[in-house]
């Protein structure tokens, strides 16, 4: 029984069957990659997991509880954090404030009117946030306005914001999309380090095969809304069905 169990999930947009019949089981403390050509339904699947979309059929169980019908913030409180394709951070706030917000969310739940408390009295949270920033090597940038940083740093910050919540499952949506090679390599290194050091399950959607093969324990290949095959990276590399799915795409383009 995996930490995330997706059973028979289907989703239609008008006449388009975006997801057919998706079954997926992500095991605890593994890195599970979901790959597939454009339009395979990767993003739709991810959105079904975090509550942005509600699937038409099927069930999504996380840690034995259904996530369906819950709002994104409730699902996050269950222990799923999401990293977006383009880094979603609080651009107008400082790096440190960006870190403090998830700390408060983790401790106080989805709403608390802490209007009379003072920031500097939250020593535990500050220490936690600083330790996390130190882990990702951004401590010296803590007073910078987040939007003024490079894309790589924004990504790093976003991952740190997710990790500081100590999620059971971290979802990554093409974390290296549009990045320079150096930034991509840094991100891979960071993710590897996270995988080794922490008890965390990671589900990653990725285009870049280099990233996938350097991180994943299991790979699911999605094509036209249904899982084509699920296997270890080594077996996936030689699988003719996978090649066909990708080649088919190149021919269309």
């Amino acid at each position: 029984m995996g930490i995330l169990e997706v059973k028979g999930v289907g989703k239609r947009f008008g006449g388009l069957q975006a997801l057919g019949d998706v079954n997926l089981s992500v095991q605890e403390n593994t890195v599970h990659a979901i790959i597939g050509p454009n339009g395979a339904g990767k993003s739709t699947l991810l959105n079904c997991l975090v509550g942005k979309l509600i699937p038409d059929t099927g069930s999504v169980m996380f840690n034995g509880n259904s996530v369906l019908g819950r709002k994104p913030h409730e699902i996050n409180q269950m222990g799923i954090s999401r990293v977006f394709q383009t880094p979603e951070i609080f651009g107008d706030l400082t790096v440190m404030e960006n870190m403090m917000i998830p700390c408060f969310a983790k401790r106080d739940g989805s709403f608390r009117l802490h209007a009379v408390e003072k920031m500097e009295n939250e020593r535990d949270l500050i220490a936690k946030a600083e330790a996390m920033l130190d882990d990702v090597g951004m401590l010296e940038k803590r007073d910078m306005i987040a939007s003024s940083m490079s894309r790589g740093d924004k990504r790093r910050l976003e991952i740190a914001m997710c990790l500081v919540q100590e999620p059971k499952l971290l979802l990554l949506d093409e974390p290296t999309a549009g990045m320079a090679r150096a930034d991509t390599n840094n991100t891979i290194a960071l993710l590897k380090e996270i995988k080794e050091k922490r008890d965390i399950t990671i589900a990653i959607i990725e285009h870049d095969m280099h990233v996938v093969f350097s991180l994943a324990d299991r790979i699911t290949v999605l094509a036209q809304g249904t899982p084509l095959v699920e296997d270890t990276p080594d077996n996936i590399k030689g699988n003719p069905k996978v090649k066909e799915a990708y080649l088919g795409e190149t021919q269309q383009v």
């Binding site: 790096v95 209007a115 408390e117 500097e120 939250e122």
Partner: protein
Amino acid sequence: MLGLNKKDTTFLLIVIALTIATPIILQPFAEGSELAQFNGGYPDLMQKIAIFGIFAVGFNILFGLTGYLSFGHAAFLGIGSYAAVWMMKLLTMNVIPAILLAMIVSGLFAAAIGYVSLRRSGIYFSILTLAFAQMSYKMAYSVLTPLTNGETGLQLSLDDPRILDGAMEGTSLPVTNIFGIAMNSSYKLEALGRVFTFNVGFYFCALIAIIAFYVAIRLFRSPFGMMLRAVKSNQQRMTYTGLDPKPYTLAAFVISGMYAGLAGGLLAAMDPLAGADRMLWTASGEVVIMTILGGAGTLMGPVLGAGVIKYLENIFSKINETVLHGWFHWLPDGIEDVVIWVFARFTGEGWHLTLGVTFMLVVTFLPGGLVEGLKRISTRIKHGSQKRDKYDDPDPEHRPEASKHVA
């Protein structure tokens, strides 16, 4: 002091000092001198600045922090005034219960209106708040006449019960007071050829304004304030961080509605009548202008904006052609006429033209408002004409001392 860091404390102390000295500062020119028209009208004007300062500070908690632009905030100001006058009619002329009721009632209205309006964002939210405010205004004029006294406005009358004050004597209407001290009493001091007036009403308003300002500082610096800025910055990230933006925004809406109610209550405490005009959408527009002109999202901006607008309104509307003639009589006749004609368009009746032009200029060239303007000037002075690099953020409100959170 009082849970503020050093910089904020200094800031608050400056505001307090300025307020206490207001009667002196705003009376810089000797009575009867040529420049006397620049003296602030006192105490009426000063009270207005304090009251509208409170209104704008409250509006800024919603708009400046969360970015939700309400175009109907005057409704809460009006509701506060009505509630306060009713308290004075029914219970007592003491202003304290009146003001408390004003805040409670407008808080309740804000909770109801906010709950509905905040289901939408962007311009849809602005229009919903505008619609609610216009509805309140029209209803105050028509259906709710028993409560609001329609066009005449709600006033005191001799046969009001006033349970706590006991039987009325005489035929004149009672005046508002605080534990027996009348709001309109004042102490006059003549010195250096000037008359300085110390008015109870003004100091009462000023005290409340300082408390309101202090609360706003604490709120800006609190984790709650940070969450509100997070709402403005990225709601998507907020929900995916496990936070629900709705209750945060609603709390901000209610708090700012209560500030507006407080301001409305104070207006009634200074002059016990309430009219539907206070809820008109132009009044809502005015508080938006004050906040933007001063600098939305900054602490000092709204106060500055309210002060500048109310002061200029007062001064500009007093200047007429005779006054202008007095100023420019040294110019050659033809030129004098032209200069006077131009100035006359912007003063007296033309005050709104000045307001419109100023507003356009500020929004176009100084989006951060007067506060940003002052900062640019001080940066210029400190660093000479040295070019600023792009990470050099001019506005410390947007980077509130993250470093100081950790001792």
